[in-house]
C-alpha cells in the first residue's frame, strides 16, 4: 500500500526524561494548527500523541514518534526499544497500570494511557514483543473541512 505522504517528521523522545516529556506532542499539535486542521482532529491527535509519548518516556526507555500525514488521515508511529508490553489485553483495560510508585507520585499511572489512545483514534495497531520493544501505529481520520 503506497499512500501519498504529504508531510512527515520524526521527533526523538528521551527515556525517563520527565522534564522535557510532552514536547514532541506540543510540536506535533502546532504543526497541525499551522496547516489549519479541524480543531477536533488536532485535539484527538494531541491527546493520543501525549499519552504515547509518555509511555515511551516512562516504560520504553526512549524512542521516537513520527508524524505522517496523507490525504486521508494523520498517522502517529511511536517506536521504542523497551521491554515490550507483556499483556496487551490487560494494558488496554482502563485502570490497569504497571506504573511505579514514583510515577504515581508524579500523577501518572492512572491506567488510561492505551485506552485513551484507543478512544482518540480511528485505528490502533500495536506491535510488541518481550525484550524487543513496542511499535504503535495510530490512525486518526482527517475530517474534510475547508472552512
Amino acid at each position: 500500500m503506497s499512500e501519498q505522504v504529504l508531510f512527515q517528521k520524526s521527533f526523538q523522545i528521551k527515556g525517563n526524561d520527565f522534564a522535557s516529556a510532552g514536547e514532541a506532542s506540543v510540536q506535533i499539535k502546532n504543526i497541525l494548527k499551522e496547516v489549519g486542521f479541524d480543531s477536533s482532529v488536532i485535539r484527538r491527535v494531541a491527546v493520543a500523541s501525549y499519552e504515547a509519548e509518555m509511555n515511551v518516556v516512562m516504560y520504553g526507555g526512549g524512542g521516537k514518534v513520527t508524524l505522517r500525514v496523507n490525504p486521508e488521515d494523520v498517522i502517529l508511529i511511536v517506536e521504542d526499544k523497551g521491554p515490550g508490553i507483556p499483556d496487551v489485553t490487560k494494558a488496554m483495560q482502563e485502570g490497569y497500570s504497571t506504573a511505579t510508585d514514583e510515577m504515581r507520585e508524579m500523577g501518572f499511572g492512572a491506567g488510561m494511557g492505551l485506552p485513551n489512545i484507543k478512544r482518540n483514534s480511528d485505528e490502533l495497531k500495536i506491535d510488541t514483543a518481550a525484550g524487543k520493544g513496542t511499535r504503535l501505529e495510530i490512525h486518526i481520520k482527517r475530517a474534510v473541512n475547508n472552512g
Partner: protein, 419 residues
Amino acid sequence: MDKPVKKLHSLTIDEDKCVGCVLCMKACPTKAIRVRTGKAVILSERCVDCGECYRVCPHEAVVPQTTSFSDLKRFKYTVALPSPVLYTQFGWEVMPNQVLLALRKIGFDYVVDLAWVCEKVNAAYEIFLKEDKGPRPRISTVCPAVVRLVSFLYPELAENMMPIDVPREVLARNLRKKLAQEKGFKEEEIGIIHITSCSAKMVSINNPIGLSKSSLDGAIAISDIYADLLEVIEDMDEDIILQQSSGVGLGWGKSGGEVNGINLDNCLAVSGVSDVIQILDDVEAGKLKDIQYLECLVCPDGCIGGPQVVENRHIAKKRSENLVKMFGERSRVSRKVIRRLYQENYFFLEKGMERHPLPPLDPDPVKALKKRQRIEELIPQLGGKECGACGAPDCKTLARDIVRGEARLEDCVFVTQNK
C-alpha cells in the same frame, strides 16, 4: 469558525522612535512582530496585546493606546472603576478608601470599588463551577491577552472558557442604566472608565470578544493618573466610605486572587506569558482535567505586574497581601443576592467565546501540508543562529514567512554570505 474580525490592537509602533532593533520581535511570545525596512511591524492577526514588546523597548517606540484624562470632557458625568491594583501603588499606609476618595477629588463624579464586584463575580464563579458539567478545566476570561491567546492560538480551548463576564463589564453595563435613571442623564452622556495597569484593556473595550459591545467608554493607565492622585491622596478625610470589598475582592489583581475567592479544591493560578502558554499546551494535551478552574494572567504575578504600573511589583504584591489580611478572607457578599442575580443572567457573557484561529499556511489543506514540509526543508539552510537580522524573530519563522511568500531566502544573511 466564527466570522473573521478585524483585529485591532492597543499597541502601535511609533516609526519616528523605532530604530529597527530586534528586541520587541524577540520578546513577542506569539511571533507577531517583524522588522521590515528598518522598522518594527506588528502582524495584526497574531498579536494578543500582551504588552511584552512595550516592556522591552528601550526607545519608547511601542505606544499603548489608552484614554487620556482630558478625553473625559466629552462626557457630562464620569465614573471611575479602578482595578484593585491601584490600591497597591501608594505606600503602606494608604487605604483603599483613600484611593477611591482621591479619584473623586481629581474629578470623577462617581467612583465604585471594583474589588467589590470582583467579590460578587467570585461568588458567581463558585455557583457556576458547582453546577457546570462542561469541560475542565474552566479557564478565566479576566485577562484580555489570555482571551485573545485562546481565541487565536488555542481555539479548541474556547469551550473551556468561563461563560461569566469580567467584573469591569458586569459592573459597567448595570451601572450605566442605574445612573441614567438616578441622575437624569442619557446613557451616552455617562463616561464609565476603567483605571488599569493593563495595556490590553483598550482592545477589549474597542474590539471585545464574547460581547457585541463593551459597556466601558475607556481605560486610563495607572501610570498616567498616578501623579494627580498622589498629590491629593494624603489629605482624604475618611468620613465617606466607598470601599465595600473584603480581602477576597482586594486580592484580585494579584495572581491567585480569583482562585482564592473560590471555595473549591483543585483551582489553579498561573501567571507570566510563557507559563500561561505552557499551561495552555498542557490543557490541550488533556493533562489538567482534574483542575476545576484555571486562572491565567499573562503579566508576571498577575495584573500588579502589568506594564502600566508605577510601583515595583514585589512591593505591590506584598501590599496586596497585607490588604487581604487586613480586610479578611471572608467574602462580604450575600450568597442569596448572588444566587438571584445569577439566575437573572446578571453575570453571563452575552455570547460564547469566539474562535478566531490564525489563517492556515494555505486554504487548501493538501497545499498547506506541502508548504509545511517545505518549511522543514528550509530550516537547515538558514543559519540556525536565530539572529533576527532577516527581520523575523527566528529561523523557523523566517522559513514560514518564505513559504507564505512574505519573505525571501536571501533575507537570511547566512544564505547570502555563502553565495
